[in-house]
Symmetry: C2
Subunit: 230 residues, 2 copies
């Protein structure tokens, strides 16, 4: 397996509701066939107009409740809940960073669809097929620190299923399903400073076998019946 390069997309303008992200991204970075473009949720939500004014002190809390289908834990101002998409995260993904004061950004309604739309737009404008991942920053139980994960994807595997392949000792690998979409989102975050507001990055050199139709909702979200922690 050969090398990957991971680099930030520089010079993306401040994104506004109604902007066509594929146009802005195609203008900002020369893409090659097989690249994976990771775009942060924040700019996808902005382009899709998923911005809500916060009127008054309790507005953020009320918004978090209305974006949640189930609250798993509360402590002080921290709410860990499940969203309509099936994601479990803090504040149901409602976010106030890198956005104008008095406003909050909600998650895209369907982040897989957002990724498909960006992918189709890039193909139309540039003629190249790229994988697209919409990423967000989630906490997790048991481990400190946040990491970026995939909340939507198109044209690149979300989960790679290695069951049935054998290890170097010839024994079949069991239970080896790798969430490459989350690993790609994490790799992209390494070149995007949280404070500088870089909103996209390219991962170049991924295994061409990973480039296929996919969906975070279908492949990554664990159905409650399979979940030991819900």
């Amino acid at each position: 397996m050969s090398a990957l390069s991971v680099f930030p997309v520089e010079g993306l303008p401040e994104v506004r509701p109604g902007d066509v992200l594929a146009d802005l991204l195609a203008a900002a970075v020369p893409l090659l066939q097989g690249d994976v473009l990771v775009v942060t949720q924040k700019v996808v939500s902005k382009a899709e107009g998923r911005l809500v004014p916060l009127d008054g002190d309790g507005a953020h809390r009320a918004l978090v409740e209305s974006e949640s289908v189930r609250v798993l834990r509360r402590r002080g101002s921290l709410v860990v809940s499940e969203t309509r998409h099936g994601f479990v995260c803090a504040s149901a993904g409602v976010d106030r960073s890198n956005i104008e004061d008095g406003w909050a950004a909600l998650l895209p309604v369907d982040p897989d669809r957002s990724a498909r739309r960006i992918r189709a737009g890039l193909r139309a404008r540039t003629g190249v097929d790229v994988g697209v991942i919409v990423s967000d920053t989630f906490g997790r139980p048991w481990r400190r620190g946040l990491t970026d994960v995939a909340i939507g994807c198109a044209g690149v595997a979300a989960v790679l299923d290695l069951r049935g392949t054998v290890d170097t000792f010839g024994r079949e690998l069991h239970a080896t399903q790798v969430c490459v979409a989350d690993e790609l989102a994490a790799a992209a975050d390494l070149v995007m400073g949280k404070a500088t507001g870089t909103a996209a990055a390219v991962v170049r050199g991924v295994d061409p076998a990973w480039l296929r139709e996919s969906s975070v909702r279908a492949e990554v979200v664990r159905p409650p019946a399979d979940d030991l922690f819900r």
Copy 2:
């Protein structure tokens, strides 16, 4: 922020108890000052002799129990438990893949120490300072698919603390602690096929500000009192 490159360490021999990993790694890959070398738990455990014979049908299960300080969930043959290190993972990290039949590998006793030892060995042999991460493959609640995370590190930040810095709108970032060690482990896994048994990878080009003393146990393992899911 500039580009990262991520590439596998090829040609590492099959590792045996007593092998000095720093020697094998230094011979296998030319390292540059500031590189981060990600080494999988499997070869660290082999070099450190953390191999146990499995005698009989119940041996694996008994080993998982003895490596666990607390079991969080059981379902069929799946056990999710907490290890002495404070990691929560399947089978307490006891692993039978990429190892001879009839044997299991346990986690290193102190993976931060393992990382420090590799780092010191590489400095002694090559004269360059690198960051070292010992990685393992963990599942997680709510999301399907496994991802690689850091279980030990040396010379590279585990958690980057961005609290106190401001976003592009001049507002202070809250609760933004990024687990770059896990993101580096994830990036490295993208170039290491599970089946091919590649056991190490290099991440080149990380922000020099991340290169400092560190520890997964001190920075990443969430104390039970702070943990809403334990």
